[in-house]
Symmetry: D2
Subunit: 295 residues, 4 copies
């Protein structure tokens, strides 16, 4: 068992068990009792029961007490108990690195930030490819030894281009797609295929300024704060379940182009945090909302 | 000359000269040259020229070098020069306390906060009356020795009630009306009368959640930040020029009633800051936007 | 069973069980299994195992499934199991309001803030008395119908004065003492008596500016942020275990008196948050550090 | 005249005039009258008079009205007037890019961040060299086509190594040295030579945790906020005049290595902001404090 996990927010060497199910007496107990019986020591645990949707969520970090830990047997054994609660669960190994595809257009600030965190081991991800509708960011990908796919897009070729993107996602085994300022609206079919595993960064505090040129909209309104929203995509554009949001103060002296420039830092941080939470299995998606167990 | 000004953000004993006019060479010079010739020492100054609206704004704090300072003569003399620039200006004395009427409904957190800052001299205001459509907050006003006017309102009596409110504003000589969670929509006529001198606190980050129950809207959207917006009222409901905005982080575990509760602190601070900026003549209104010279 | 708990951050009608003990396999299980067997539904739970101090901490909010819930029997039964783990635990009722004594000197901002939250039910506390070495704040206490004890202090009468304070704490049954800018250093004996149940607000980001006049120290150093620290008192002055910290930006234009004024808001919020966390049993004290289960 | 200035916070195409001198009537007037007479339009201006040190500071952005603007003549003419006030001033061209040397050790997060902002034109700097006591970060510099000097250091070779560094500073004409986590204490001589033109990032909220391993110190104290301080170096280690400070919340669950990791983002942002302010001539150094005209 490797201990290379340099991710912030999760202790090195710990497994993560996450689960959700309908609310019912015993939901915590079924998890924690099994862990104890499996001689697994719980280092951190958070659970939440949403009384409005009557849904239960739990995230547990644990360390097996014994040298050998059979993950397959653990999952098989736990599945039987979880089934009684209609509980969906996932077990994540300490050294797991989520396979990821990043999609970009021309703006490189979010990509640059993600690549830095990836290169320095701050994000437990395994970037399999960078995909773009423009060729501009290939050198940046190349410096990180990452394959770069340039798939131009026009209104006429949208379906075809998405098929190319989807092929890369499948070929690389990507479990997460990060839209790091991709600037293209995905089709409903693509949104459906990527449901729950594609994170977008929108450069406003949704639902404040949906659609195009949010910073120009913000300038017109004379706002004193600009922000960014990281969310799962769904087929309702700019309305997917929110994971993280960030803000930065601005003033009358900031023209639209200044807002664009000032917004970059908060976009980078907001997206990076959302990806980290997703990778560390801190985010639970249920209908149109998320549960996020931060520290 | 009194030196009782305990307001944060303005040096004790300094006068404030503010002005705005169309952009033109010499706008700063006409102000600063006059001050020098009047033997007034500038302690702080900020100016901004908005290149999109081609409008100039300046705020100057100064201290007369000589013991006697004739404010009337100063204004008369400066008016001649300012006229050449179509410059509107205002001179504010060190001990000026802006006459204020506060309007409330039932929620008392913003009122309580304003009264505390008033009582302790943090805000250079002179509260002349508290006006409400409910009787609930009278004891709070009474404890601060403030007159309280209870003017109930119904759809049928709205015009009449607003006339009562307007009468109080006129009788008290109020130069600023603070809507401290008043919860009633003012008529277009009332908005017109109070244009540029009525500040409202809206419990969301406008324009995100306009209208009623913004915290419930925010919950539905699963936002991770709630906020508040202080703005001048105008006849476009919840769309007046923004002065200040504030935010607070929230989580999945915050139900609508928790958002309401959590939002109180940020509402109080956001409103108090807007009032302080207005009182210290840091806010300039031009069309649908403000210029705010913060420190 | 009453449901009057208006505190933010804890669901209405839920009990809270908190516990800590040395790290050992089964610490979570002993809690959650018992709750399930007692037919108690867990609505929120957080646990943390500190691998450096090898100490386990858990906080559980739960709702009994059955109408009648015998708290006494619950505690007696659980005590047997907890004993096997050397586990200290506490059960808190939904309608519990912690008996509190507040200590002040002349500055009233923190007191005013706490009284407002108390009066509006935002803090589940029962203020039994306000104690001061000055008479100034009696009217404020009186308006809230609270007994006010004025115990002047001089170097010669310090021991005697502290005995008076201690008498009030005992007579009122206070379980928490809040030093809301009390400005007096407590003796080691007093600190010992109040260990773990007295919260102080220090007007700096400890350990940055210990001792007197921290804002003046901050001005001298030209800091760009001022802050406040709420901490449990101990006999090492200004070094007690930290619960919460807050900051506010400042600039070169803020003279020491401006820092004092600007700091008030952050002091109020930082102290109020610490008290809320303590009251909601989110804070665990272990040696010189705290574990704080925030939302 | 080029207009390539992509720096945030300064309007494209504007010159900057900064000045400081002892407080005296007419300090603003001498600047603004000259600008008007030179047919220069002021787009933004800020001035501050420090009443404790009796020192005046002013920063003016302006745009010449006429096509040809003779900077040399402007400076010569203004020098005569400034001399009467003992006023030190500096004129900065719209397309000025400050020559910079960056010093690093092994940690690359601040360097990576600065290089990204440099490459994308967010910082108006001209990086002439990267200097390090370790070879590790050469590839990063190389990718940005920057010369990299590896000057190892030992206690015995410190003087010699500093001479090498100084030679690079002189040869490259660097006007600013950025210590981007350089981790070596500079000698008093070196501090003297670089006085007012070397910015260091210290990974704590000074003066909170001076010296080595501030995050470990912070963990020991159980702080709930970590921070970073960017400051001019002087020969009093970790005590130079502060330019910017930033914070991030942390919790009991953050072990020292987590604090190190969490602190990286705030270090990058705090340093980048300080460099931007310096480059945009927003920072004035006077004795042990700075005046920073932010927007």
């Amino acid at each position: 068992m490797s201990h290379m996990n340099a991710s912030i927010g999760k202790s090195a060497g710990t497994w993560v068990l996450t689960a959700q199910c309908p609310s019912r007496l015993g939901t915590v107990d079924v998890v924690t009792r099994f862990l104890k019986e499996s001689r697994c020591y719980i280092t951190e645990q958070q659970s939440f029961d949403d009384r409005l949707s009557e849904r239960f969520f739990i995230r547990t970090e644990f360390r097996p007490m014994d040298a050998e830990f059979d993950a397959g047997a653990f999952q098989a054994d736990f599945a039987a108990r979880a089934g009684e609660f209609d509980m969906a669960f996932e077990l994540t190994a300490p050294d797991a690195r989520l396979p990821v595809v990043i999609m970009v257009s021309k703006a490189d600030h979010c990509l640059n930030d993600l690549l830095y965190r990836y290169r320095t081991g701050q994000l437990s991800i395994d970037i399999r490819a960078v995909v773009s509708n423009h060729p501009d960011l290939e050198p940046l990908a190349a410096w990180h030894d990452l394959p770069y796919y340039h798939f131009p897009i026009t209104p006429e070729t949208k379906a075809e281009q998405e098929a190319q993107v989807w092929q890369v996602v499948q070929d690389t085994g990507a479990e997460l797609v990060i839209l790091a300022r991709y600037m293209q609206v995905l089709s409903s079919e693509m949104c459906e295929k990527l449901s729950g595993r594609a994170i977008n960064i929108h450069h406003s505090l949704l639902p404040g300024f949906k659609g195009a040129k949010p910073y120009h909209q913000a300038y017109e309104k004379g706002v004193k704060l600009v922000g960014a929203t990281a969310h799962y995509i769904n087929d309702d554009l700019d309305e997917g379940p929110i994971i993280t949001q960030g803000v930065d103060p601005v003033s009358h002296a900031d023209y639209p182009e200044d807002l664009v420039a000032k917004g970059r830092d908060v976009e980078c941080l907001t997206l990076a945090r959302a990806v980290a939470y997703h990778v560390e299995r801190r985010v639970f998606l249920h209908k149109r909302r998320t549960v996020v167990f931060t520290r």
